[in-house]
Structures are given as C-alpha cells and as structure tokens.
C-alpha cells in the first residue's frame, strides 16, 4: 500500500537484545555478605527493624529494614540512595514484601541510619513478630481488570498498622495481602483483603463479536455458564445467571463482559493463610466477611474489620501462633464471637472438594 513516489529513509537497524537473563547479584552485594556467603552462623534482632547476623568467621552485618510505598517515584528512590550513601554503606536490598534493607558492617552506623530514615518519613520495622508491609497488586493505577485500587488500600491500611510495623508485639508474624480481583495476585495472607464480585457480568452485545474469541471465553468459565448466542442479530455470548459464580474469569479474555461496577464490586476479608511450613503446613486463607463496600479513598469499612480481627488475634493468640493456628486452637465459633463477625451460609464452601472442609466428626465447641 505504500506510495511508490514516497522517499523513505532506510529505517535504523533495530538493536538486537542481549539475552543476559537474571543479573548476577554478587556485583551488587555488600562485601561482608559476599565474603561470608553461605557461612552464616546465627542472628538476633537488637530492636524492631534491625537485624544482626553473625558469620562463622566472626564477621557481622547489621540490617536496618524500612517500609516503602512500593510504587516509588525516582525522587523517593534517590532519597533512599542518599541515605544509603551518607549514613549507610551504599548497599541495599528489597524484601519479598517491598521493604528496603540497608546493610552496614558495624552497629555504630545503625542509629544514624534509623534517624535518617525516620527523618525522611520511612518507618523502620517489619521484622520479627510485627505486621509487615502488605503485599499487593496494581489496581486502578495500572491493571486492565481491577475491581479496586491497590496502592490506596495499602496506604490506608498501613497508616493504621504503622504502629504495629515499627513494633514486634504480635504473637507471630502477620502477613497481610490485597488483591484487586478474584485472581488473587496478592496471594495468601494471615489477613487478605480481596475484591469479591457480586453480580454476573453485564454484556455489551454490540462488541462481543468484534472483540472476543468466543470459544475461548466459553472455555474459560469454571462452571460452564457461558454459551454462544445471537443477540440483536449479532454473534455474542449469554450467561446462565443462575449458574454464574461471579468469578470474573471471562472478563480478561472478553472485556465487553464487564464484571465490575461501582456498586457491585465489593471487598471480602479472608484469614488464616500461611506460606511458611513452620509448625503447621502451609494453608489457604478462609472467607470471614464479604460485601464490604469498595469505598475509596480510605476504605474505612475494611479498616474496621481488619482492626477487629488483628486485635482479637493479638489479645488472645499464644506466642508463635499464626492467625490460622490461633483459630485452629480456639475454633471457628470462638473466632466469630470474639471478632463480632457473622457466620452465614456463604461460609460453607461449595467448590470441588468442599466436603473436606466440613467438620466430619463429633468435635464441637460451645
């Protein structure tokens, strides 16, 4: 289709990528960590937010851990770099939960690091039995299918939890997660704040035929509630709304099947997820409350429930019991009583294998 008379400059030769893969961390690692790689002996926490690791060689490394907003502007990153250069030793790392860690070889440097971080507004903590940073997703800022925001929910919750981040006063670690859709990219948590859709998708029949690969969408439905249909003379899809479980799985491959709406997209709170193998096996989180409003910019209804659950756990759990282990001991009846939350038919699982979640015994608590 190009015009033969048009004179075009030869396109610049595109640069071929160097498939270098995962960078070698050794080039960036603190020299004391590099020297003692694989040769560590023990550690302790002199105070919340500070770790002291001792190597078999006798060398020591001190780590100061601080919370960040994860979605950082370059000015924030440079501020953290300035702190590391001025009062640290120029080496940092990040944790799985987006905390930043500053490593220094002597304890004398720790107080100045803490002071500089606090001065710049970065909370020092997130170690030991604290409430660490919430692992979260992208939300309205960047995701193409979000039911809510991520950074805003996390900012709101961490403002409330700040005092538990900078202390180590919980029975065990508390890992909180958020997810902006039911895919649950935020993962499992002691407390999980996840979008829960409450209505079947609303279908824009004028666009389905143009935008969606219909057999793919039909196959994506976990309960076979979607079938091809001709609507207003156009190829589209229809939903058996009695079957639909409102999971949203059809929405990513077919955006005209809008699962979100300002009113029907709700938030649910889940508890008792655990990644670690310590004591009990890893567990999934369990539903405790649904139908909380998606209420930006501060989500106060969610905050209230999170606070109730967290402090019921803090008040009653034994040292080293994670949220799920505490509930295993006291039982679900006591959990619902102590948190003041309602137990409903929706807590009875209906998915594949759900009978295994029921109490198949005469063990009861009163």
């Amino acid at each position: 289709m190009t015009d033969a008379t048009e004179v075009k400059a030869a396109p610049a030769k595109p640069r071929k990528p160097v498939e270098s893969g995962v960078p070698d961390p050794m080039q960036y690692m603190h020299p004391v960590m590099l020297k003692n790689y694989g040769q560590w002996s023990w550690h302790e926490r002199p105070r919340p937010g500070v770790l002291r690791h001792v190597a078999k060689s006798g060398d020591e490394i001190f780590t100061v851990r601080a919370g960040t907003q994860r979605q950082m502007d370059v000015y924030t990153i440079r501020k953290l770099c300035d702190i590391a250069d001025q009062v640290g030793e120029g080496h940092v790392r990040f944790t799985t939960r987006s905390n930043i860690e500053f490593m220094v070889a002597s304890f004398e440097k720790v107080p100045a690091l803490i002071a500089a971080l606090n001065e710049a507004g970065f909370p020092v903590g997130g170690t030991g039995n604290s409430v660490s940073m919430i692992s979260h997703t992208q939300g309205w800022l960047h995701c193409d299918i979000p039911g809510t925001d991520a950074s805003g929910v996390v900012k709101s919750m961490m403002d409330m939890l700040h005092k538990e981040f900078i202390a180590e006063e919980m029975p065990n670690r508390v890992k909180i997660t958020t997810s902006c859709c039911q895919i649950n990219c935020g993962g499992q948590g002691d407390i999980a704040i996840n979008v829960q859709y409450t209505k079947p998708p609303k279908i824009d029949h004028s666009r389905v035929g143009m935008v969606c690969e219909r057999p793919t969408v039909v196959a994506r439905c976990p309960v076979a509630a979607i079938r091809p249909a001709i609507v207003n003379g156009k190829p589209s899809l229809e939903i058996d709304e009695k079957k639909c479980v409102c999971c949203g799985a059809c929405y990513p491959p077919c955006p005209p099947m809008q699962i979100n709406s300002a009113e029907s997209t709700k938030l649910a709170i889940w508890v008792g997820g655990k990644h670690s193998n310590a004591r009990s096996r890893p567990t999934f989180h369990k539903l405790v409350v649904a139908n909380l409003p998606n209420n930006p910019p501060r989500w106060p209804e969610v905050e209230e429930v999170v606070r109730k659950i967290l402090y019921a756990y803090k008040d009653d759990a034994k040292h080293w019991e994670r949220m799920g282990e505490w509930i295993d001991r006291i039982g679900w009846p006591a959990f619902f009583e102590r948190t003041g939350l309602a137990f409903t038919k929706h807590h009875l699982d209906t998915w594949v294998g759900s009978r295994n979640t029921m109490n198949m015994s005469a063990h009861v608590r009163f």
């Binding site: 690692m29 979605q71 501060r298």
Partner: protein, 429 residues
C-alpha cells in the same frame, strides 16, 4: 498538601487522592505529585494525566486501562501494554506501558545501579518504579510504545534483561538465603540463575500453554512463598540430623524459663519430635522431624539445619484462576545441591518439567491443573520419577483403581530400597 495552593490551573484536581497524603506511611500520591510537578522533565504531563485518570477511577470506582500488544525488537514478552480508555480526557497518559525487568537474584542493589535505573526511567518513562511486582520484577511503570524500546536498550546495555509476561516462563524470585541467612540450605541465587538463564527462550518468546513460575526458598520458612505461588518450588532442606548446640539450649532455657520452652518450643513441634531432658538439654527424634523450622527459628543460636543439605521440589502451585487456588505438591523430597553437577541436574529436571507442560497442558492450563486432570501417577511416570510416601499425606482412600500390577510395582519398590524382591524375607531380618 499546602503546596497545591500554588499549582497551575492545568493540573488536574485530585481531592480523593489528596486524602492519601496524610498519615504516617509513605504516600505514593505524594510521590506521583513530585513527578507531576517536575515541569522540566518530559514526564510531568504524563503523570499529571495519570493522576487525572486515577482520580477518575477513585470517583467512578472503575478501572480505565485496556491491554494490547507491545514488545521490543527480538522479544515477544516482558512489556505490559496499557492503553487508556479515557484518553480523550487524559491524552498524555494514553499509553502507559510497564517494562518488567528481572532483578538481580535476591534483590541486591548498589545505590549506583539504582540511580542508573532512575536516570533511564527519567529519560524514557514516567519516573515511577515499583520494587518489586508480585512475580519479582522491577516494574518500570508508564511509558509510550516508543519509550519501551529506548528504555529497554539502555537497561539491556547495563546488564538487565526483560522478564516474563503472558504464556511464558516468568521472572523468578529467591530469598536472601546464603547471602545473609544461617537457615540457607543451598545457593539460592545460583540455582535461580542456573535454571532461568538456561531457559530464556521460553521467557522472551512466549509459546507455552500458560505461565510457568519457578521460585527458590532456602529453607521451609519459604520466604518467597514458593509453595503457594509457583509452578515449580525449590525449598531448601536437609537429610541428616539437625545440629544442636546443647550449651546454647541450656542458655535458652535459663533465659526463657522451662515452662516457656516447653510450651512454645517443645509442644509446638508438629510431630512431637522434641523432648526437654531433665538437665535442660534437648532430645531430638530426627526420624520424626519434618523440617518445619519452628524450633530452629525460635532457638536459632542453639539449633541449625543439618549438614547434608539440598532441596525439596514441589510442583503445581498457583492462584485462583480458574479452578481455585492450588499448592505445590511434593514431587522430589530431596535433591542434593552442592556440586556443579547437582545444579545442572536441577536445571535439567526443570527443563523436563517445562517440556512436559508444553507438550501436555491444555491452553490456559497451569501445570497444577494438568496434574489434577491426569493424576499424579501419570505425571511421575512420564517424568521417570519413582513414587515416594513423602508425596502423600496419606495413601488413597478410594478403592476405585485397577491394581492388577500391584505386585510388580511393589517389587520395584523393594528393589529401589535395596531390599530383595521378596521383601517379606528381608523385612523379617
């Protein structure tokens, strides 16, 4: 917030986002405003419109991004394309793509390299970076289609490479591990780089049925959440006896008290493998220990993993979509990870599993779903892995299975265990 009083009228009002500037936690909104107000920078207008769109989302309670197809030359993945559905209102952020960039294993950085990344992203992007995404990527958030190539070229020259997106091998994560942790049971960074860097074709040219994730944790504390969140979880463990320093055990009991030690260490052992002796030393039944880590975590000066270290491999973890959450299942209770050959063997096994996934999974099926569909026996037979009682919580409870080759299978077990084929006689010895 008072700084807003002087802002120029073309900046979008963001009353809802402004409420996220108060409170003690660092505010991403304040950070976005710093970018928006950098009027000498190319991204100021883009971030202004980004904030306008985000405020619009906070008002309407809906998202306004759609996906698309954007890549850099030579690669088919690694960019998350975002096009605005409300670009007529917010034109400068109509394209707001993310580059997923693989971090150094263990997330170690110098300030020098962080500053270099910032410079690249000021030249070619929005100035907004997340350390890190849930798959472990450095997420450079917000650039145009043109900016993707420019930013990638510069980052690639610095030694960074794009991560995974779409139906492909994904970016991996490893814990801090051997770099700073006494619980580390193998070289996590080496394992990650050995496995991932030999399979980059699967990452950069997406052709798998769906995503495939490896994660590497140095011990069963699983600090990178591998069992829940990866298709192929490598979890450090050990085969011999845990190490006990009885002097330190006594010191712990003296400090914490006997009742505390019994209630919070001994009684919390999930398999009753611990006992406190009358002289306040510790008795460990290592055959019953399941390597859960609790006692080592709590008494970390007194207790440590054993010397015969390596890893367990669990396969099939994933998040909800679409059959529900699945955890990884124990497939290899122990692989030694010490020599170069050991790491190559891990890489080879990873490759075999990827190949099996590519050949056998249905479209949009994770390998955990494939396992559920075909059953574990078919999977381990295909990969030449022997059945092992560590694979189950308990043997089957359903009688609906054809067992006419049970005796032959039992003989294979006795041969593997080094017992005579007629295991009865051996058992009597």
């Amino acid at each position: 917030m008072t700084e807003d009083l002087g802002k120029s009228p073309d900046k979008h009002a963001t009353p809802r986002l402004d409420e996220l500037e108060s409170g003690p936690w660092p505010s991403f909104v304040t950070g976005l405003k710093r970018l928006r107000d950098s009027e000498d920078k190319p991204y100021a207008g883009m971030v202004n419109d980004l904030m306008g769109q985000l405020e619009h989302s906070y008002t309407e309670r809906l998202g306004f991004w759609k996906g698309g197809t954007v890549s850099v030359f030579g690669y088919g993945g690694g960019i998350i394309p975002r096009f605005s559905e409300v670009a007529e209102k917010f034109p400068e952020s109509k394209e707001f793509h993310t580059l997923r960039v693989m971090p150094p294993a263990g997330f170690h950085y110098t300030t020098e390299v962080l500053r270099q990344i910032c410079e690249v992203w000021e030249r070619h992007g929005s100035g907004l970076i997340a350390f890190h995404g849930q798959s472990g990527d450095i997420m450079l958030q917000g650039t145009t289609t043109d900016g993707c190539q420019k930013a990638f070229d510069e980052l690639n020259e610095m030694g960074f490479d794009l991560g995974g997106a779409g139906p492909a091998l994904r970016t991996s994560m490893s814990c801090v591990g051997a770099a700073r942790c006494e619980m580390s049971c193998y070289d996590e960074a080496r394992a990650l780089r050995t496995v991932i860097n030999d399979n980059l074709g699967e990452m950069h040219r997406p052709a798998l049925p769906y995503k495939f994730k490896f994660k590497f944790s140095g011990c069963p504390n699983d600090c990178v959440n591998a069992i829940h969140r990866s298709d192929f979880a490598v979890i450090g463990t050990w085969r011999d006896e845990m190490k006990v320093d009885q002097t330190e055990v006594k010191a712990y009991v003296a400090e914490k008290g006997r009742k505390y030690t019994i209630d919070h260490v001994i009684s919390m052992c999930p398999t009753r493998a611990l006992s406190l002796n009358d002289d306040d030393t510790l008795d460990v039944d290592n055959k019953s220990c399941v390597r859960c880590m609790h006692c080592i975590n709590v008494m970390h000066k007194a207790l440590a993993p054993g010397e015969d270290r390596g890893a367990s491999i669990l396969i099939g973890g994933k998040r909800s979509l679409k059959v529900g959450d699945l955890m990884g299942t124990m497939i290899k209770p122990f692989v030694k990870l010490e020599t170069e050959e050991d790491y190559q063997a891990l890489k080879d096994f990873g490759r075999e599993v990827i190949d099996f996934f590519a050949d056998n999974a249905l479209e949009h099926e994770r390998i955990g779903e494939t396992l559920d569909r075909i059953g574990l026996p078919a999977f381990i037979e295909a990969l030449g892995i022997d059945p092992d009682p560590n694979m189950v919580r308990h043997p089957r409870t359903s009688s609906y299975v054809r067992t006419d080759d049970f005796t032959e299978e039992a003989e294979k077990y006795f041969v593997r265990k080094g017992l005579r084929p007629d295991g009865k006689a051996q058992a009597a010895e």
